[in-house]
């Protein structure tokens, strides 16, 4: 087994790099997050005013299929905690998530991230969508767009978008609408994390390519299961 690959992309994220280069970062990372405490926050929110995560993301983290809220279940804890820190700091600017995150302490962020990371919620079968669009998305996921010098999504997000923990989320089985929405946030500047990679890619891909990638990843797990039957 090679441990290099999963951890490789920490440097994509400026905060990740800082953490690894500073002794303080190492000691903060050594506190063991409390997933049970995280579960309580997910279900009930906090006294300081953070609402229950479950209201939108469901208690098991599958959210709903509207795609307005991304699926959180089994995303890497590091990644989830970083998103909460980014919402709190304004690196990700969201009318909903920024106030929620500001109401959480750093330890509560770690705990709730740990909880959702361990959730084993199922991937629900979703509508497969347009076959041509999916095929186009698959091509970009596997090979990028060489004409635009855009690298393949799977180079960082793992084979079939399975994720490269701890820093890089899975895309496989994420709601297409959530993926499109994430691209929109990068394109419009509301999301300033990954400025060197995702923000650039989001601006280089056109809307149809984004829709194609999103449609591909939404169905990749269920189509893989179907193929095995």
């Amino acid at each position: 087994m090679s441990c290099p690959l999963p951890l490789r992309a920490l440097l994509l994220l400026p905060l990740g790099a800082t953490l690894l280069c500073s002794a303080q970062g190492l000691s903060a990372a050594e506190r063991q997050p409390d997933a049970q405490r995280g579960a309580v926050i997910a279900a009930q929110g906090t006294a300081a005013g953070a609402p229950p995560c479950a209201q939108c993301h469901a208690f098991n983290g599958v959210s709903d299929s509207s795609g307005a809220f991304p699926r959180l279940a089994a995303q890497p804890a590091y990644y989830l905690a970083k998103q909460l820190r980014d919402f709190a700091s304004g690196t990700r600017d969201s009318a909903i998530m920024t106030p929620v995150s500001k109401a959480l302490t750093l330890e509560e962020m770690q705990d709730v991230a740990a909880y959702y990371a361990t959730s084993e919620a199922p991937f629900m079968p979703l509508a497969a969508g347009d076959a041509k669009l999916i095929e186009r998305g698959r091509s970009i996921a596997l090979k990028g767009n060489a004409a635009k010098d855009i690298q393949a999504c799977n180079n960082c997000h793992g084979a079939e978008g399975a994720g490269e923990p701890p820093a890089i989320p899975y895309l496989a089985g994420q709601y297409a609408q959530s993926i499109v929405s994430a691209f929109d946030m990068w394109r419009s500047g509301y999301r300033k994390s990954s400025e060197g990679a995702m923000a650039v890619i989001a601006k280089q891909l056109d809307e149809q390519e984004i829709a194609a990638v999103a449609a591909y990843y939404q169905q990749v797990r269920t189509s893989a299961v179907a193929a095995q039957k």
Binding site: A9, K143, A159, A197
Partner: protein, 589 residues
Amino acid sequence: MAERLKPVDVVTIGVGLTGAIMAKELAASGLKVVGLERGAARQTVPDFQSPNIHDELRFAIRKALMQDNVKEAVTVRNSSDQTALPMRRWVGFLPGTGLGGSFVHWNGQTYRFQPADFVMKTHHEQRYGKNFVPAELMIQDWGVTYDELELHYDRFEYMCGTSGKAGNIKGKIQPGGNPFEGQRSRDYPTPPMKEPYYGALFRKGAESLGYHPFPQPASTLSQPYTNPEGLKLQQCVFCGFCERFACEHFAKASAQTIVLPVLMKNPNYELRTGCQVQRVNLDSTRKKATGVTYIDAAGREFEQPADLVLVTAYALNNVRLMLLSGIGKPYDPKTGEGSVGRNYAYQTVSAADIFYDQSVKINPFMASGSSGTVIDDLAGDNFDHGPHGFIGGAYIGAIMTGGRPIEFRPVPPGTPSWGAGWKKAVAENYNHTVHLTVHGSSMPARTNYLDLDPTYKDAWGQPLLRMTFDFPENDIKMSAFTTEKTAEIGRAMGGKTVSSAPRKKPYTTTVYQTTHNTGGTIMGNDPTTSVVNRYLQSWDVPNVFVVGASAFPHNASYNPTDTVGALTYWAVEAIKTKYLKSPGPLVHA
């Protein structure tokens, strides 16, 4: 019988860094150019895609991107009284093959040579007197100066999008950069890469001893970049698979990312792959090339007539092609006469390892081929050599290129070499070791040279290149000095133990050191001691130019690619602005 093809204006032998850049420039100026590449065509998509491209066994151990040494090897010996044997596996050095050449599997380290390097002999005589340089060496001036090359270095770096911090812009020292470097006309095109933890530890240790650390200049990019040809490069993700691998990310400068897409669109250009050039053909005067003869992948022989022949293969193969074509007089180590094959030089590389306790987590896998932190204080002639009795030096740095599982297994001295004890030590030290590289210069010696092997032949029946090389005493002394200084820095970096070893004789090809093979068709101002003039034009056959690290009269303390790139632009500009107007010798001896 060779089939004679339609004549073209220019043929390049090899389509790597030098061949692609020269072809692009000349095709753009209206000439019909054919590029002959012995290897396969390959592009980022689909050839370099993950996860396949991260196959360490295939690429790093079995060397999938390298010259096929079943067909074409190099024979090696340490001295001319030995019998050279062919390298059956590439280990010591790794010549690439295929479209883009070694410019695909390089690490991206992008250093300029020092101004003093280009006036090596004059500089050392002026600073240390006429008797200082050891008699075993034959250093000489290059015939071109740093100031003449500066804008070509700049152009190449802006093509690559190199990430770094200038230390000297127009004579003004810049904080955070390399204060020893020759002056630059402007800063690097992109800011330095992020400093890895191992680089930060080195920086601290080096600073505590009064050295001047700076981020290693990297053509694995710190941020997205569009080069002057309009080609886009992406941000490096520190995956740790650069050297020996190709980049799937459009993040490493290579022929594929910085020039080929533009070249391939030009209707004046034709690329032919799988074409093994046998020789440059000369007319009856032997002062004019008529073209080249090559054999294609199906075994058919062709003659490609051309007005201008550019020898743009890997450095070693440039030398071999000149010898096979009978251009220039081969070097004879007994008499010191002749020039083709002389001044073969390498790189004198050594290392130190710092072993930390379990609380210091290095994460060595998080790297690019050119991330890291270095010092230039002990490189080239940046320090007073008066008391030391040798010339040259080394840059020193924490420039770990990835913690790949098969290759990276640091263990402290005294560890058993196999079994449970070894495994335990690997597990204990993998994430807690910093490796320091001592990247030393290589001086040409009278006894080191390249010629044709009398015994061994390639798959097409032509003699292999024979390398006769051992480290000169000068370089052994240099390595002892710089390696000890490196160990001192290691001890200042706060580890448990430091182990270090200077480079020792004899040279062996069974341990990887570097692929920086230089010299053999060297440039200069005197046709008796150089193969090409200051514009890389053959003294003997003026419509042949030989471009690459084979032109270096010695190898400096640095990785050669930036200087190869600069010389390529320097030579192609001379062709465009001087040679094409009046074909013939650009320098009269």
